[in-house]
C-alpha cells in the first residue's frame, strides 16, 4: 500500500522536477544560472489561475481534450512500475492498455489541434500522427522480445532481463534502453526531434499543436507531456534496477536514474541542434532498428540460431 501511495506521489510530482532539472542542466551548459528547478511547477500554478481564450472555430472537443488526455496519461501511469519495480495496477496485458490509453490521448489531442482550423496546428498534428506510427511498433517489438525472454507477461518482465546476465543479456539491456531513450525523446517532444523552448512553427511537432491553447488547458497539456516523459524514464529505470532492494534504497536509486536521465536529456539538448524535418524520420527509424536488434538478440539467446 505504501508503495502504491509512493508511486502516485512520484507520478504527480516527479514530472515537474524532471523538467526543472533538464532546464537547469541546459542553463549549466549555457553558463547561465537558470531558474529554480521548481519553476515548471510555479508556471503550472500560474497558468491554472489565468483566464481561458478559445478559438471561435472550436467546439467542445477542444475544451475537453486537454482534460481527457491528461486523464489518459495518469491512467497509463498506473500500469508503469516504479519503486521496487511495482506498479499500482499489475495485470497481464497491462502493457497493451498502457500503450492504447496513451494512443487515445494522442487521438484526442490531434482532434483538438485540427479543430482550430489553423494550418500550423494541422501541420503539427500530421507530424505527430506520423511519428507514432513508427515509434509504436518498435516499442511493441522491444517489449514482446523481452517478454519472450523472461516468460512473464506483465511489465514485471522488464525487471527480469537483468537476471538473464551474460554478454547477450547485457547487450539486450543496452539496446532496449537505447530504443526507449529515442522513444522518450520523440514522445516527450525534446531536441533533436522537437524543441519545446522555441515557437517557430515550421519546425515543430508537438509544440505547434498547442498554439491555441492557453491557461488551464495549456497547463494540463504541458503537464501530461512531461508526465509521459517521466513514464518512459521509469520504464528505463525498471530495466536498470535490480529487484529485492529495500524500499528506501529502491526509491533513492529510482530517483537517481530519473535524475541521470534528466541530466542526460539536458546535455543532449545543449550539445546537438534540432534535426531538419526530413532527418527526424531517420532518427525515429533508428529506434525501429534498435528494436529489431533487441529481437534478434533475444532470438539468438532463446534458440541459438
Amino acid at each position: 500500500m505504501l508503495i502504491k501511495f509512493l508511486n502516485i506521489i512520484l507520478l504527480l510530482i516527479t514530472p515537474f522536477l524532471m523538467v526543472g532539472l533538464i532546464r537547469k542542466t541546459k542553463a549549466f551548459w549555457g553558463a547561465r544560472k537558470g531558474a529554480s528547478i521548481f519553476q515548471p511547477f510555479y508556471d503550472f500554478v500560474k497558468l491554472m489561475k489565468k483566464e481561458s481564450v478559445f478559438s471561435s472555430s472550436t467546439t467542445l472537443i477542444f475544451k475537453l481534450s486537454p482534460i481527457i488526455s491528461f486523464a489518459c496519461v495518469i491512467f497509463a501511469g498506473l500500469f508503469v512500475p516504479m519503486v521496487q519495480g511495482q506498479s499500482i495496477i499489475n495485470i497481464q496485458g497491462g502493457i497493451i492498455i498502457f500503450a492504447y490509453v496513451l494512443a487515445l490521448s494522442k487521438f484526442i489531442s490531434i482532434l483538438s489541434a485540427m479543430e482550430t482550423a489553423s494550418s500550423f496546428e494541422g501541420m503539427g498534428a500530421s507530424r505527430e500522427a506520423c511519428f507514432t506510427t513508427i515509434i509504436e511498433p518498435a516499442f511493441f517489438i522491444v517489449v514482446a522480445s523481452i517478454m519472450a525472454l523472461s516468460k512473464i507477461y506483465t511489465f514485471d518482465s522488464l525487471n527480469m532481463i537483468l537476471y538473464s546476465s551474460n554478454h547477450l543479456g547485457y547487450l539486450i539491456i543496452l539496446f532496449a534502453i537505447l530504443a526507449l531513450l529515442i522513444m522518450l525523446i520523440v514522445e516527450g517532444a525534446r531536441v533533436p526531434v522537437d524543441d519545446p523552448s522555441t515557437h517557430l512553427e515550421l519546425t515543430m511537432i508537438h509544440e505547434v499543436m498547442i498554439l491555441d491553447n492557453c491557461s488551464q488547458e495549456l497547463a494540463l497539456i504541458s503537464y501530461s507531456a512531461w508526465m509521459k516523459m517521466f513514464l518512459i524514464s521509469s520504464l528505463i529505470a525498471t530495466i536498470l534496477l535490480p529487484l529485492g532492494l529495500s524500499l528506501w534504497v529502491s526509491l533513492v536509486s529510482f530517483l537517481g536514474v530519473i535524475l541521470f536521465i534528466s541530466i542526460l536529456i539536458g546535455t543532449i539538448e545543449s550539445a546537438i541542434a534540432r534535426l531538419r524535418m526530413g532527418h527526424v524520420f531517420e532518427f525515429v527509424f533508428v529506434m525501429s532498428s534498435f528494436a529489431l536488434v533487441v529481437a534478434s538478440l533475444v532470438a539468438l539467446k532463446l534458440y541459438g540460431v
Binding site: K49, E51, S57, A71, Y100, F107, G122, E136, F140
Partner: protein, 656 residues
C-alpha cells in the same frame, strides 16, 4: 430452428407484400417493419440455440440435391445474430436515406425487393449444410447485392464498379465450387457432415481443399490480393447497402473460412504461415490505402479490408496455437477473431451510416470540401467520432476489446518454444501495432477534415440541420453498443465462447473470464477517471473568452488555408513512397495575371495499376483476335451454322 424460418418467412413476406404497394414511402416502412420482426425472431431462435444446443431441419428434396439439411449450430447462430441485427438497422435507416430519392420520383420497388433478398440469402447461407444449395444461395446473395450496388445506375461509373464486383464474385465462386466438388466427389455426398470424415481420413487432400476454400471465401471477405472489388463497389452503393455489405456480407466470407477450418481441420504449418502472412499484408495494405483516400466511403471500404486482415490474424494465431497444442492461446485467439467479427460489424455499420448521413446533407463524399460539420450535425459527428475511436481500437470502446484478446493471444503464444513461431508472433505484434497507429492517423484525418474546423465549400456551408430521426436512431443504437461492449468485455467473451466451443473444449475459459472482469473494472475506472477530471475542471475553471484562431498576426483568412486531407497524410506518404502510385496533374500559374492554375494529386492502388490493368489490357488484346468470328455479320453466322451441320453430318457418317 422453427423461429428461424419464421423470421425468414416474415422478411420474405415483407418483400412480396411491399411489391404490391404503390407509395414508396409506405413501402420502405413496411419492409423495415417486417424485417425488424423477422430479425427479432431470428435472434430469438439463435439465442435459443446458444442455450439449448443446435437445431436441425432436414428436407428430403431428392432430385440432384439429395437431402437438404439446415442446421443452426453455435457458429451459424453467432453469424445470424449479427446479420439480422445490422441488416434490420440498415433497412430502418434507409427510410430516411431514400427520402430525397423518392422526392425525385426514383422507383425503389426492385431495390426494396433486393434489400430483403440479400438479408434472406445471408441468413440462409449461414445455416445451409448442403453444398449445392449453399452455392445457389451464395449466388443469390452476390446477385442481390450487385443489384443493390447499382442503385444509381444512371451513372456509368456505378455500373462499371458493379460489373467489377460481379466478376470478382464469380472468380470466388469458381474456387468455392472446386472446394465443394473436391469434397463431394470423395465423399459421394453433398452434405457437410460427410465432408468432415473424408477430410479427416486424408490430410494431404484436406490441405488442398483448405487452400481452395481459403481463396474462394477469401475473395468474398476481401483478402489482399483479391480485395480490389471492395473499394470500388462499397462507395458506389447507397450508404445502408455499403453498411450491410461491409459490416455483414463480407463476414459471410469469413464464415466460409471458419467452416473450411472446421471441415479441413488444422492444415500443414506452411499453409498456416501463409494464411498469417496474407492476413498481415491484408491488414497493413488496407489501412495504408485507407489513410490516403479522400473519399470517405472509399476510405471506409479500405478500412474494412484492414479489419478483415485483423480477423485473419486472429484465425491464423488460432491455427498456429492448435498446431502446437496450446489450447488456451488458441481459445483466446479464436475468441478475439469472433469478437472482432462482431465489433467490426457494429462500428463499420455505424461509420457507413454516419458517412451516408453526411452524404445526404452535403451531396459529396469528398472530405476535402467538407469541414465544420460538427456544429451543424452534432449527432452524426458524435457517432462518427465514436465509430472512429472504436475502429482505432482505443479504450474504452469495443474495438479495443477484440484487439486486446488478439494481443493477449500473441503474448501467450510467446510461450510456444519454436523459432518460427517466435518470429511470426513478433511480426504480428509489430504489424498489429502499426495497423492500430496508422488507423489513428487515418481516422483523425477523416474526422478532423470532414467534421472539425471550418466549412471548406458551399456544400458544407449550406447544411442547416442534422438528419431525421429514422437515420439517427440506428446510429445511436450502434454507438451505444460500441461503448457497452467496450466496457464489459467479459460478457462479449462469454458470447464468443459459444461459437468457439465448436472448435475447442473451453475448460480454460473460467480463468480468462475472471481476468476480463478485472479488465472491465480497469476500463470502468478509466472512464470514471475521465469523468472525475471533467467534473473537477468544471468546478475550477476560470473565466472564458472567445476569439478567432491565432493566424500569425493575420486574421480573417479564408477557410481554404486549413490543413487538407492530402497534406495531413503527406509525411506518412513520403515514408511509404514505393507502396503507392502517385500521379500529379500540375498546371502552374503563369504571367503577371495568372488565370487558372491547379494542382491535383491522385493515389492509385498499386495492385490495380501494376497487376490488374496490364492483365486486362492483355486480355482485351487477346480476345480482340476473336473478333473475326463474332463480327456481327448475320450471313457469316449462317455460314458457321452450315459448317457446323456439315461437320456434324460427316462425323455421324464416319462413326456409323
Amino acid at each position: 430452428m422453427n423461429f428461424y424460418f419464421l423470421g425468414i418467412a416474415f422478411i420474405l413476406f415483407g418483400a412480396i407484400f411491399s411489391f404490391f404497394i404503390k407509395k414508396s414511402d409506405l413501402k420502405l416502412k413496411l419492409i423495415s417493419f417486417f424485417s425488424s420482426i423477422g430479425a427479432i425472431s431470428v435472434i430469438f431462435s439463435s439465442i435459443k440455440t446458444f442455450i439449448s444446443g443446435a437445431g436441425e431441419k432436414v428436407f428430403d428434396v431428392g432430385f440432384i440435391f439429395q437431402s437438404v439439411r439446415f442446421s443452426l449450430d453455435n457458429i451459424s447462430a453467432f453469424f445470424a445474430i449479427i446479420i439480422s441485427f445490422i441488416s434490420a438497422l440498415a433497412i430502418i435507416y434507409s427510410i430516411g436515406y431514400l427520402k430525397p430519392y423518392i422526392q425525385k420520383n426514383k422507383s425503389i420497388t426492385s431495390h426494396c425487393l433486393f434489400l430483403n433478398l440479400l438479408m434472406i440469402s445471408m441468413l440462409l447461407v449461414v445455416v445451409c449444410q448442403n453444398a449445392l444449395l449453399f452455392l445457389i444461395i451464395w449466388e443469390l446473395m452476390s446477385l442481390s447485392s450487385f443489384f443493390l450496388v447499382i442503385f444509381e445506375h444512371e451513372n456509368k461509373e456505378v455500373i462499371k464498379s458493379g460489373v467489377k464486383y460481379l466478376i470478382y464474385m464469380h472468380i470466388s465462386v469458381i474456387f468455392i465450387i472446386l472446394f465443394f466438388a473436391l469434397l463431394s466427389i470423395q465423399s459421394h455426398s453433398l452434405d457437410f457432415k460427410y465432408f468432415y470424415e473424408i477430410a479427416k481420413q486424408n490430410s494431404s487432400f484436406a490441405n488442398i481443399a483448405f487452400i481452395f476454400g481459403f481463396i474462394g471465401f477469401g475473395i468474398k471477405a476481401g483478402f489482399v490480393p483479391f480485395h480490389n472489388w471492395l473499394p470500388d463497389a462499397h462507395p458506389k452503393a447507397p450508404s445502408f447497402v455499403s453498411a450491410m455489405m461491409s459490416a455483414v456480407m463480407i463476414k459471410t466470407g469469413i464464415y466460409g473460412i471458419i467452416r473450411t477450418i472446421e471441415i479441413c481441420s488444422i492444415p500443414k504449418i506452411e499453409i498456416i504461415y501463409f494464411v498469417l502472412l496474407i492476413s498481415l499484408i491484408t491488414g497493413l495494405y488496407g489501412i495504408f490505402y485507407a489513410s490516403v483516400q479522400k473519399d470517405i466511403k472509399k476510405m471506409l471500404a479500405y478500412s474494412s479490408i484492414e479489419n478483415i486482415g485483423i480477423i485473419g490474424i486472429g484465425l491464423s494465431v488460432y491455427l498456429l496455437a492448435t498446431y502446437f497444442e496450446y489450447p488456451t492461446v488458441a481459445l483466446i485467439a479464436l475468441c478475439g477473431s469472433f469478437a472482432h467479427i462482431l465489433n467490426h460489424a457494429i462500428f463499420k455499420a455505424l461509420l457507413f451510416l454516419s458517412a451516408g448521413s453526411v452524404y445526404i446533407k452535403t451531396h459529396t463524399k469528398d472530405m476535402e470540401i467538407l469541414g465544420g460539420l460538427i456544429k451543424k450535425m452534432p449527432i452524426t459527428a458524435l457517432c462518427f467520432i465514436i465509430g472512429g475511436i472504436s475502429i482505432c481500437a482505443l479504450p474504452p470502446f469495443n474495438g479495443f476489446v477484440s484487439e486486446f484478446f488478439i494481443y493477449i493471444s500473441f503474448i501467450q503464444a510467446l510461450d510456444i518454444n519454436n523459432f518460427g513461431v517466435f518470429i511470426a508472433i513478433l511480426f504480428a505484434f509489430a504489424s498489429l501495432a502499426l495497423i492500430g497507429r496508422v488507423a489513428i492517423l487515418c481516422f483523425t484525418k477523416t474526422i478532423s477534415i470532414a467534421f472539425l474546423g471550418e466549412a471548406r465549400s458551399k456544400n458544407a456551408q449550406e447544411v442547416k440541420f442534422d438528419n431525421s430521426k429514422t437515420m439517427l436512431i440506428p446510429m445511436g443504437i450502434l454507438s451505444s453498443l460500441c461503448l457497452l461492449i467496450g466496457l464489459f468485455p467479459q460478457y462479449i467473451f462469454k458470447y464468443t465462447l459459444k461459437p468457439a466451443s465448436v472448435f475447442i473444449d473451453y475448460g480454460c475459459a473460467c480463468k480468462l473470464i475472471s481476468f476480463l472482469d478485472v479488465i472491465s473494472k480497469c476500463l470502468l475506472a478509466f472512464l470514471g477517471l475521465i469523468l472525475l477530471f471533467l467534473l473537477i475542471k468544471k468546478i475550477i475553471s476560470n473565466k472564458q473568452e472567445t476569439y478567432s484562431t491565432w493566424g500569425c498576426g493575420y486574421n480573417r483568412l479564408t477557410n481554404k488555408v486549413q490543413y487538407s486531407a492530402s497534406s495531413f497524410v503527406g509525411p506518412f506518404l513520403t515514408i511509404l513512397k514505393p507502396l503507392f502510385k502517385r500521379t500529379r496533374d500540375v498546371k502552374k500559374a503563369k504571367g503577371l495575371f495568372p488565370k487558372e492554375a491547379h494542382y491535383i494529386t491522385k493515389v492509385d492502388d498499386i495492385e490495380e495499376a501494376y497487376i490488374i490493368s496490364p492483365i486486362l489490357k492483355w486480355d482485351e488484346k487477346f480476345l480482340s483476335k476473336f473478333e473475326i468470328i463474332q463480327n456481327g455479320d448475320i450471313q457469316q453466322y449462317i455460314r458457321f451454322g452450315l459448317a457446323f451441320l456439315l461437320i456434324a453430318l460427316i462425323c455421324a457418317i464416319l462413326i456409323s
